[in-house]
């Protein structure tokens, strides 16, 4: 039972962490422009340096 008392909170905490990360990324607009995100990697920014 002591193992459970440790492992269950850890499992739940990690799950909550994942959920919080998902909600944060949604709020931050990371899913607003999926196509753009895929394309942006191709932009040459040679003159920005």
């Amino acid at each position: 039972m002591t193992g459970l008392a440790l492992l269950i909170p850890i499992a739940l905490g990690m799950g909550l962490l994942g959920l919080a990360a998902f909600l944060w990324s949604m709020r931050a607009g990371q899913y607003e422009d999926m196509e753009g995100a895929a394309s942006r990697i191709l932009i040459d920014e040679e003159d920005e340096l």
Partner: protein, 705 residues
């Protein structure tokens, strides 16, 4: 539209959002974001490729016109975003995605605990795990279940029933029952089933919402092309800008070349040509002079005009068409989606079964606790989990496949209606044909081509633009022309290597579409035609093969329409105004047909809205794209036939999915009725049926090939 202002240092900056339909690739994003920031007054720009929008942070002194001009200088046409008509859709999608995330979290954690219970945990451990499950499940169900509870409540309060009613009843009863089991230390808690059910159903809803918002983005606001303001000439001969909604009949308005008319009126002074393509679908510009009646939405092509306004704002011909469209579109909103039709049959059967199970076991003397457990097991096992996924999963896969072939389908109901169409009505100009005049360059030598491009590229006349585009496509280098001048209604003149050169009206004006190229004493006539799309005939054949006979319904003059129809071997009707087109569609519907309308002009708008399903080309007017169920991009017409074929394939898959769900129920319900369904059996049955439905739907990804 300065949506908001942000403070940076001392000066507050304004943020303006513009739609940029031409933005297609990484290069475009890079160009817009890099170059726009170099324009004085603009601090930054952020492009959204999925929504085809650019948010520009700028000095509030810059107005929309200046921003549009800055984008045009980079080669992108843009329009200010109207008061975000998609905001409510967007909010719904976000709510569903959040609910899906929460349900996913709950499902995984409860499953973790449930697996231990199934593998034999008992006594204090089982009780602890049930309590933990309840602790997770209750808030998760309260949050993620809201979309279903709200919709079920709406339906019940209107004394109707929908798919959400059995779902809500099942979930709520299962939760209450499990709570009771937990409190009394019972063996079976259904928290995992209830949350898993919500997760799978939310996945279906989220897919459906995602599909709607994805393809609607980039389609501009209604009446976007109507002039938004006009230069009104006062009694003291000074001009001031007046917004379209503040114009009054009787005002005298000056319309510069290239400007769109903001209201209907009569020409008082000046001679020019108008591009009426948006209203009539006619590709050739119409010459106007003193006394001509002109309409809002037309673009003044060549020379300034003074116009006395007769009809403004809501009274213009354009607004009339918008009203017709609005009315015609209402019949479509009465369409009942296939999932709802299925649930009308399904929900009463499920409720009756659950009730019968409860009553039967009570009579058999099983006690109310056992009877209720069995009734809930029936509700859970028959909950339309696979059914909730059956339709959206197939439709999302199909629309993704069509998207890759250049066809945007706006929502799932469009696919359902497309599959039901049994006759296709096509517009001519811009739909069967390319809609822009193409010159025949075969008689021009290299020198003449260079001169023609040098002259044509300076003019905004549709024929000049068509000529310039064709010559650029043929990789012609423009000649250096000096002393360029454009005379409205006459043509472009200049000097090249000491010779007078001109692009002008041909002398034999009998030919409808042609332009004369004069180089010194030599005279070439360049004939123009509006060619059929290269695969028009093949598409019509493909449509016929799908069981859709085709016909032409055009606003163009009768002779060219008949010639075009004869060439394609299909019946036709010409000289149809928007009202006549609408009437023709209504007549087809009255005769029991389900017409598919394909058209581009604003004059097709009411017909597009009235048809059972409709498709517009990407070059269509904004209003038509708005009214159509699907939009296809590019020169090929084949996506239209492809859309019908894929829609039919989708409905086949949807029917298979339904068939599977029903077969699964036929197998599972006897188990539930006899009390054999434990939480483990329910969980396995639910996941397997959902996975089978998704796997079956994925077969559609190759359907558009």
């Amino acid at each position: 539209m300065n949506a908001s202002a942000i403070i940076q240092g001392e000066t507050p900056l304004a943020v303006t959002r513009l739609t940029v339909p031409g933005m297609k690739c990484a290069g475009c994003i890079g160009k817009i974001e890099r170059e726009l920031a170099k324009t004085p007054g603009i601090t930054g720009a952020r492009a959204n490729l999925s929504a085809k929008r650019v948010a520009i942070t700028h000095d509030p002194a810059l107005d929309e016109g200046a921003l549009t001009a800055a984008l045009l200088a980079l080669g992108f046409e843009s329009q200010p975003v109207a008061d975000n008509p998609l905001a409510s859709d967007d909010a719904e999608r976000r709510r569903l995605t959040r609910a899906l995330g929460v349900a996913g979290f709950g499902m995984m954690n409860i499953m973790l605990l449930s697996v231990s219970v199934w593998s034999g945990a008992d006594g204090a451990t089982r009780a602890l795990f049930h309590w933990l499950s309840a602790l997770i499940a209750l808030p998760v169900i309260a949050y993620s279940g809201r979309p279903f509870f709200a919709s079920a409540w709406m339906a019940l309060s209107h004394r109707r029933t929908n798919m959400d009613v059995p779902i809500s009843i099942g979930v709520i009863l299962a939760t209450c029952m499990s709570l009771y089991e937990t409190v009394t230390g019972g063996a079976h808690a259904f928290f995992d089933s209830a949350v898993m059910l919500l997760f799978f159903l939310l996945a279906g809803r989220a897919l459906d919402a995602e599909m709607r918002t994805r393809t609607r983005a980039g389609i501009g606001a209604l009446l976007g092309r109507m002039g938004k303001s006009a230069s009104v000439i006062g009694p003291d001969c000074t001009a001031r800008r007046v917004a379209a909604k503040d114009l009054l009949p009787g005002m005298l308005v000056l319309v510069a070349a290239g400007e769109a008319l903001a209201a209907d009126g009569e020409v008082v002074e000046g001679a020019s040509t108008l591009d009426n393509a948006m209203l009539t679908g006619e590709s050739a510009p119409e010459p106007v002079g003193q006394g001509s009646v002109v309409h809002a939405g037309a673009i003044n092509v060549s020379a300034p005009l003074r116009i006395r306004l007769t009809h403004v704002a809501e009274d213009t011909a354009l607004a009339e068409i918008a009203r017709l469209m609005d009315e015609a579109g209402q019949s479509r909103s009465a369409y009942v989606r296939i999932a709802d039709r299925a649930s009308r049959l399904y929900a009463p059967v499920v409720h009756a079964l659950a009730l019968a199970a409860f009553a039967g076991w009570m009579i058999a003397g099983a006690g109310w606790h056992a009877s209720l457990t069995i009734a809930i097991a029936v509700l859970i096992i028959t909950c339309p989990c696979a059914m909730g996924l059956a339709v959206p999963a197939a439709q999302v896969v199909a629309s993704g496949a069509l998207l890759r072939r250049g066809l945007l389908v706006k929502d799932g109901s469009a696919l359902e209606r497309l599959a039901e169409c049994d006759v296709a009505v096509l517009d001519k100009t811009g739909t069967l044909t390319l809609g822009s005049p193409r010159p025949d360059l075969s008689k021009l030598d290299a020198e003449a081509r260079a001169v023609a491009l040098g002259l044509a590229q300076t003019s905004r006349h549709p024929l000049s633009r068509g000529l310039a585009a064709a010559l650029r496509a043929a990789e012609v280098e423009p000649a250096q022309i000096e002393g360029l001048a454009e005379v409205g209604g006459k043509g472009v003149t200049g000097r090249w290597q000491g010779n007078a050169v001109a692009l002008e009206k041909p002398e034999d004006a009998g030919q409808a579409l042609a332009t004369g190229l004069r180089i010194g004493q030599r005279l070439h006539t360049i004939p123009f035609s509006d060619p059929l799309r290269p695969d028009a005939a093949a598409t019509l054949a493909a449509l016929a093969a799908e069981g859709l006979p085709t016909r032409i319904l055009s606003g163009d003059r009768a002779a060219p329409v008949a010639a075009c129809a004869a060439a394609l071997g299909i019946p036709s009707q010409g000289e149809a105004d928007p009202r006549a087109k609408l009437a023709a569609l209504e007549a087809l519907k009255a005769a029991g047909h389900r017409p598919l309308m394909v058209g581009d002009g604003l004059n097709d708008g009411p017909a597009l809205a009235a048809a059972h399903a409709s498709i517009a080309p990407g070059t269509a007017s904004d209003a038509s794209q708005q009214a159509a169920d699907a939009v296809f991009i590019g020169e090929a017409l084949m996506p239209v036939a492809l859309a019908v074929r894929v829609a039919k394939a989708t409905m086949r898959i949807v029917r298979q999915n339904f068939g599977f769900s029903i077969a699964y129920n036929v197998l599972a319900v006897p188990l539930a009725l006899t009390g054999q369904v434990t939480p483990l059996v329910a969980a396995i049955a639910m996941s397997v049926s959902s996975l089978v439905v998704i796997a079956n739907s994925l077969r559609l990804s190759g359907a558009a090939r």
